[in-house]
Symmetry: C2
Subunit: 333 residues, 2 copies
């Protein structure tokens, strides 16, 4: 691999995305992408006593599913990159503790899935045969931890987003027929001073724009090169914002840009306000929907830019603004 | 680089540890390693209004110090790996949000520093000229988050450890005169069912043993190859345990093994019970003390194995055991 421009990495022997798996919760099972997921759950507990244990079970079973679909032995996987939204990433560490594979914990908030794929791709081109990448989030465990007890029934403002319950996992391979990871553009932390924890789309939009434009400048590509440019979870409000900002910077993304948080729920019937969010938002939409579009050649070149808000409830209570990050990955067949 | 044995990576052109920096709090300033740190603080707030903001300031200033000591422009650093103990790793993201360098958030609890150096070394041998690795922890923010409000004055059991206030940071370079990172052995999650959150040394000891023995098996080395084998923060209880277990498995580490948590505090005079812990424990002891020993050739070959407990307060309240992890890095001049 080689460095290209200021912050992009080009793969000379691009890693193959060998297989993907996804499991989602009951709300996602009623959404427009339901048929693309490997499994949909009937309730948020899945037989467990707590939401945290349920989330660990979801990531565990998603990882078991992707290993099974890939048809390889887990002992052949060189390492795993995983992380999630729960404090100290316990969904990943408890869900994957029986996996018996060298483990790198990562945290990029809702950008975690693309961060893990980026680092996995670097490992594939440098030493590994197979790398596993996984992430999860859970509406109930996230609301409880970041906002209010669900039992309070708090009203949610129109700009708020709905944390996706689910897990996405993928296995990258040094050999295979694609889809290939051709470029990654890891993002910088961008903090424009936005403080509204109920408006994450606005807080993360500047990071998305920074990574998007850097990717085009570094690679010499333009928005029209891609069949689809997909953000992680800016939601409908963030989506409108970045179309406008990109246009003002000379990049027209209106015709081929969409957002995982917009795609996964039906805005009119599902009452999810600005759309989906959480690590599993881009994790499941890529692993379920986008990967199949690539395999069936309905999409041939996509730029997936997952966004994350690097705050916690304490930082908001202490009056801090919300630092955002966005990692981009170029996937082609 | 190449894979060696079951989980070790050998660097063919070993990355140089170009420079290190460390800042510690007032308790560490009274410990036996005080003279090795770049800066020692007089109080836990450092002029900030909260412990969380103080921790962010500590990592920010430590990173500024290491960049300054290395004599390179921050724009030449390809990426940064950082993480910490605070929920959603806010110490790193707030402390480093003005850095303007592509950012990979990592979480390995107290193993984070060696995890970041491991991933940084992979990047150096594959595409990067310079990589920055940083971590932090803070006694007060950690106690508040994981245990009890400090104002309660809770009594601490003899097996408990004292979270180090401080930050360690290092810059890895593709060229240089060493000390070199020659091997890494990333660890698996190991959970032996230990549930006592006040006895982290015991919970993490099995992960240390697993990585230690795997490293020897993969490389063909034995304990006597190294001038020093150093664990991250097993503390005095964990230290005794792993000496015994290693012996029972046929590895005698008694003569050249020590622990960062034992080294950083004086057990008799400082009332820290089993010793230091936290991301900054191995971070500051390596960046302050061990790096200087290597530069002065007092140590020529060390094996640093940082340990982490991958739990949070919710998992303990829900009756879960404590999964441990240990990442090893071989450093030679």
């Amino acid at each position: 691999m080689e460095k290209l421009g200021s912050q992009t990495i080009k793969f000379n022997t691009p890693p193959t995305i060998l297989e993907c798996a996804s499991i989602v919760g009951p709300k996602e099972a009623q959404g427009p992408l339901a048929k693309y997921f490997d499994q949909t759950l009937e309730d948020e507990f899945w037989g467990e006593k707590t939401w945290e244990k349920a989330e660990s079970k979801i990531v565990k079973e998603t990882v078991n599913t992707v290993i099974s679909k890939a048809g390889i032995a887990s002992s052949n996987i060189d390492c795993v990159f995983a992380g999630d939204l729960l404090n100290q990433c316990i969904s990943s560490s408890f869900g994957l503790r029986e996996l018996n594979i060298p483990f790198f914990g990562v945290f990029g908030a809702c950008s975690t899935f693309v961060e893990s794929m980026s680092l996995g791709a670097i490992c594939i081109e440098s030493f590994a045969k197979y790398v596993l990448c996984a992430t999860s989030s859970h509406f109930c465990s996230a609301e409880k931890q970041f906002r209010f007890p669900l039992e309070l029934g708090n009203q949610r403002p129109p700009s708020s987003q709905w944390t996706v319950t689910g897990s996405g996992a993928t296995i990258l391979s040094a050999s295979g027929q694609g889809p290939y990871i051709t470029y990654i553009t890891p993002g910088k932390i961008i903090d424009m001073g936005i403080k509204d924890a109920n408006n994450m789309g606005s807080a993360m939009a500047p990071a998305f724009i920074d990574t998007l434009i850097t990717h085009f400048n570094d690679t010499g590509r333009s928005p029209s090169y891609y069949d689809a440019i997909i953000s992680g979870d800016l939601g409908s409000i963030g989506k409108d914002i970045v179309i406008d900002i990109a246009k003002s910077k000379g990049f027209n993304i209106k015709n081929n840009y969409d957002d995982c948080g917009v795609l996964i729920f039906d805005k009119n019937s599902q009452d999810t306000h600005s759309g989906g969010s959480g690590c599993a938002c881009s994790g499941t939409v890529f692993s379920g929907y986008l990967f199949k579009q690539l395999k069936e050649k309905k999409l041939k070149k996509i730029l997936l830019i997952a966004t994350g808000a690097l705050m916690n409830s304490t930082s908001s209570q202490q009056g801090e603004s919300i630092p955002g990050i966005a990692h981009a990955i170029s996937i082609e067949i």
